[in-house]
Symmetry: C2
Subunit: 238 residues, 2 copies
DNA sequence: TGTACATCAGTGAACGCGCGTTCACTGATGTAC
DNA sequence: TGTACATCAGTGAACGCGCGTTCACTGATGTAC
C-alpha cells in the first residue's frame, strides 16, 4: 500500500484535495531526499509543509509507506522516460539507435534525479524492506531493453551464435527461460543474456558516475558514456 | 587523518595498547555497518565496547574520521584481495585467467563484506565528504586490471584496432592520457578504455547482485557472474 | 632505587538537538433526512 | 431548504527513544631526576 486509502466517494472535492495533498507530501519528500539522502524524516517534511508531523499520518501509515510510494513513483518516472526515449526513434528497425536512446534516457533521468536514482539503485536503506508492490514498476525500464532485442530477433536482425550457446550454463539458462516466459515469449535465452550484459554495463556506468567513482578519472562524462554504450552495442550485436 | 595521532614513543606498551584499541573500535564499527548500514553510531559502538561514548574521542576526532578510517581500510582490504588473486595466477601471460581471477576476487570480497562494499561503492553517505586520503587506497583494485592490460600490451598480445581509434573522442582520450601518465606510461589510451569497460561491467554486476537488483531474476549468481566476465573478456580482447 | 611530576585513558553529566508514533481533541466540511 | 449528524483534517502534547560532542574530573601508567 502506498497511501492510506479512504472510502471517500471518488471525484469528490475532498478526494481531489486529498490527492493533491498526497502529491505535495511526496514532492516535498523528494526535495528532502535530494539534500539528505535516504534518511527521510517525516518531521522535516511536515515542517516544510507548515503542518504538524502527526498530520502526515492521515496520508501515509508510516515512514516506510511514504518511502515505498516514492520508490514506486521513481521507478515509474524512470520507466516512462526510457519508454518515451525509445518510442521517439522513428526507424524501429534501428536497434542500435533505439538502444542508445534508451541508455541516454536512463542517464539523463539519473542526472536530473540523483537522489531518486540512489533510492532505486543505491545501497539498501537500513531497516527498509521493499514490498512486492514495487516489482512491476521496477521492471519497466528493463523491459524496454528486452523489447529492443525481441524486435531485432523477430526481424531476423540478430540471432544466437554458437559461441553464445556454448557459454550459457544450464542453471543460468533456466533462470533466463523463466523470465522469457513472462516477458518475451520465444526470445532465445542467449539474446536475453546479451541484453543483460548491456543492462549491467548501462547501470554500472551511470551508478559509477553518480556515486563519484569517476571523479578525477573521467571528466568528459557524456562522451565517455556514449562511447561505452557504442562499445556495448558492438558486443551485443546490434 | 584516520586516527588521532599522539606523540607517544613508538613501540611503547602504551602505543601498542592504543593501536589495539583503534583496531577493536574499527572492528566493532564494521559489525555495526553490517547490521545498520552507513548510519554509523558512535554511541552504539561505545556501548558494545563497554565504554562511555566520549572515550572514543581519545582515538578518533569525530564520527567522520572513524568513517574515513573504515573506508581506507576497506579499500585496502579489497585491493589486497584482488592483488593476491591476480598474483596467484602462475602463468602471467594468461591475461584472461588473470582477469577472471581478479574479478572473482572482487566479487568474493564484496559478498564476504557487503556492508563495506556498500560503503565504498554505494550511494554517498549524507553529509560525509571523503577526504583526499582515500584516493590512493581506492585505486588499488583498479590498478590490478590496468596492469593486466599493460602486461598484455607489453607482450604484444593485445593492441588497439582501427575501430578502437575511431571510437575514442578527443576529450575522453585526453582524460585517459592523464591517467596513463600517472599509472601505466606507454599504454595506448584505447586499451585503457577497454579496461574501463571491463571495470564498469565488473563493478556493475557485483553492485546489482549486492543491492538486490538480481532478486527474482537470476538465481545462479556465480555462473551468471562468470559468464558475464567471460563475455567481457571477449569484448576487451583478452 | 625512590620519588615527584607529566601524560594519558576513561568517566559521568550535560547541552541541544533530532526522530517516529500515539492519542484525545477541536473545527470544518460534507451528507441524509 | 434547513437542520442534525457523521466524517474527515489537522492540532498539540506527550512518550520514549536516539544522537554527536564538550568539559571538568579521577586514577592509573609511564618518565625524569
Amino acid at each position: 500500500m502506498c497511501a492510506i486509502i479512504s472510502d471517500m466517494p471518488a471525484g469528490s472535492i475532498r478526494a481531489r484535495v486529498r490527492a493533491e495533498m498526497i502529491s505535495e507530501i511526496k514532492a516535498v519528500a523528494r526535495q528532502h531526499l535530494e539534500t539528505e539522502g535516504a534518511n527521510l524524516s517525516l518531521r522535516a517534511v511536515a515542517r516544510d509543509m507548515d503542518m504538524v508531523s502527526s498530520a502526515l499520518y492521515r496520508y501515509f501509515a508510516s515512514r516506510d509507506d511514504l518511502l515505498t510510494a516514492l520508490i514506486v513513483d521513481a521507478y515509474n518516472a524512470l520507466g516512462a522516460t526510457v519508454e518515451a526515449a525509445d518510442a521517439a526513434v522513428t526507424d524501429r528497425a534501428d536497434l542500435r539507435g533505439r538502444w542508445l536512446a534508451a541508455a541516454r534516457g536512463v542517464r539523463g533521468w539519473a542526472l536530473a534525479n540523483p537522489a531518486e536514482y540512489a533510492l532505486l539503485f543505491g545501497s539498501p536503506v537500513p531497516g527498509y524492506q521493499a514490498p512486492q508492490d514495487t516489482v512491476p514498476a521496477a521492471a519497466r525500464s528493463s523491459l524496454v531493453l528486452v523489447d529492443i532485442m525481441a524486435d531485432g530477433y523477430a526481424a531476423g536482425a540478430i540471432a544466437p551464435t554458437p559461441a553464445d550457446r556454448q557459454r550459457l550454463s544450464p542453471a543460468v539458462r533456466a533462470d533466463l527461460s523463466a523470465i522469457i516466459a513472462q516477458v518475451a515469449p520465444g526470445l532465445p535465452a542467449e539474446l536475453l543474456h546479451r541484453a543483460m550484459t548491456g543492462w549491467l554495463q548501462l547501470f554500472g556506468t551511470v551508478s559509477f558516475e553518480l556515486n563519484g567513482q569517476l571523479t578525477g578519472v573521467i571528466e568528459a562524462r557524456t562522451e565517455f558514456f556514449d562511447e561505452q554504450m557504442e562499445l556495448v552495442c558492438d558486443v551485443i550485436g546490434i
